[in-house]
Amino acid sequence: MSMQVILAQALLGLNVGVFYAMLSLGLAVIFGLLNIINFAHGAMYMLGAFIALIGYSLLEQWFGISLQVGFWGSLLVAPLLVGLLGILIERTMLKRLADLDHIYGLLLTFGITLILQGLFANYFNVSGTPYPGQPESLSGVVNLGFMYFPTYRLFAIVFSLVVCFATWYFIEHTKLGSRLRAGVENPNLTQAFGLNVPLMVTLTFGFGAALAGLAGVLAAPIYSVSPLMGADLIIVVFAVVVIGGMGSIMGAILSGLALGLIEGLTKVFYPPAASTVIFFLMVLVLLFRPAGLFGKEK
């Protein structure tokens, strides 16, 4: 096995890993405040990709607006719209379930997943539609010595890493972030100090959803845009979250990246196991460290 092949597959693994990281980060942020798992996170990722696709090529055809939202525009618009949808869901539905068993939140978001997925499957091919709007400036290839790597993929990796670490910095090292964490630790006390905890909860949910939407836009030029793209991903991300534990933001990011790498390397050494290796790792973690690698049991 040549070093060249290992490096190449590792880089592709990292490429997948940044998407795991962004999604598990969003899940962890939401879980921290609301104590629910957002099953619709995958659907929101898909939605982000579709907003980019529709904005680029279908606005005129569908709505008669002669407007085209390019890739850079989508990077801004899609997270915003997905975030707003998240806020809407939180305000109108999740909020009312807050006093019930948390599994109802999971079930509700599962239902929302089916709706979103079904809606798009009606109008788009389930095996994917190519996103034509990849910017010219990123369309080249970089010669890394051991392989040719598409510039866009490199961009996606770097961009995602920046977003992940910026989020971490914001939550762990800014004033607003510390209030957020206070809300997580002790909502009642925080409320008593005059902070609007319900608003924080809503905005947090919106932010988590926006992260998923952003990941979707980034994924669109790499993978075809498909109604099922989120469903395939979200279950793996669940396993990532179980492995990492939901205790820390950094934990979610690092375990996402690491598991993407491991998956990529599995493709070099034993390809048939690539699709299951993360799940087997989850079993190991459950056996030896049930709370997860970075987790603290609540």
Binding site: I36, I37, H102, L106, I115, G118, L119, A121, F279
Partner: protein, 306 residues
């Protein structure tokens, strides 16, 4: 009282259904009804949300199918083999999953089930995407030809009633009462000296085994074991069936299974709109109809009485 009336209705409908409906479809309904009842035992009575029950349903279908097709097992032995596999799998998954609670439990079961899905996709004996095709129905007790739809139908009905009976007995036994106590308040049950984990595991295994019984039977009916049965969407469907019919009610899952399966069958020509409609029902049930059809019925009856 109400349960007794429902039981009579169910048996009469069950016995006469093949004379006014397409038998294969009714058999499909019975499998899903049993699957939902098994699932309800876990969620409705022990409060554990498994998002991976398709693994037992689908896994048992593969093993039963393989035993029937490649080893030439007679039909009942084939079904038992599949069910036995679900029992083993349920023990392993249960042991792992009960280490975590609540939402984590759901995620863990979902992820574990995904292993089974990928194994079904990749192991040579399952036929991958092709699935196990043309599984022989064979002859019951060596002389009743199950290729006769009526014979097949009454066998399926018998299996359903046996499975249903087991669940009914379990719910109404002291074991079932402990389960409900755990669901209501786990720490109190613990302080009363119950080995909570042991009870949870038992409930998980019984539920998985009966889900396997349903899956193995389905493989015999359709002469097919395929990936669809092991897919997470099937796990989601069984949750919906239970929810629609009524969590923690004896007949709810049966009613829910008939409702949801008939609906998706009737709407199948509308393509993905089926999924949208199922999603809407899901949201509706969670938001305002948490008792489900039977639960709501029981609630209204008892209110009128008291």
């Amino acid at each position: 009282m109400m349960n007794r009336i429902l039981l009579v209705i169910m048996i009469v409908l069950g016995l006469t259904a093949p004379f006014f409906a397409y038998p294969v479809f009714v058999m499909d309904l019975l499998c899903f009804a049993l699957f939902a009842c098994a699932f309800n035992l876990l969620l409705g009575y022990a409060g554990l949300l498994s998002f991976g029950h398709a693994a037992f349903f689908g896994g048992a279908a593969y093993v039963a199918g393989y035993a029937l097709k490649e080893w030439g097992f007679p039909p009942l032995l084939g079904i038992l083999t599949g069910t036995g596999f679900a029992l083993l799998l349920g023990t392993v998954f249960g042991y792992l999953a009960i280490r975590r609670q609540g939402i984590y439990f759901a995620m863990v079961t979902l992820a574990l089930a995904q292993i089974i899905y990928f194994l079904a996709l990749q192991l040579p004996f399952t036929g991958g995407e092709n699935g196990l095709q043309r599984i022989p129905r064979g002859e019951l007790f060596g002389f009743i030809d199950l290729n006769n739809e009526l014979a097949m139908y009454y066998l399926v009905l018998a299996i359903f009633l046996i499975g249903f009976g087991i669940i009914y007995r379990t719910i109404h036994s002291p074991f079932g009462e402990v389960l409900q106590a755990i669901r209501e308040n786990e720490s109190r049950a613990l302080s009363l000296g119950y080995d909570v984990d042991h009870f949870k595991l038992m409930a998980f295994v019984i539920s998985a085994t009966l889900a396997g019984l349903a899956g193995a039977t389905k493989a015999l009916i359709f002469q097919f074991a395929a990936l669809t049965n092991a897919h997470w969407q099937t796990s989601g469907e069984v949750i919906l069936m239970t929810l629609v019919g009524g969590l923690g009610t004896v007949f709810g899952p049966v009613v829910g299974a008939i409702t949801v399966a008939s609906l998706s069958h009737e709407l199948s020509s509308f393509g993905s709109w089926v999924q949208v409609i199922l999603g809407v029902i899901f949201v509706f049930c969670v938001m305002v109809f948490r008792r489900g059809i039977i639960g709501e019925l029981q609630h209204r009856l008892s209110r009128r009485k008291g």
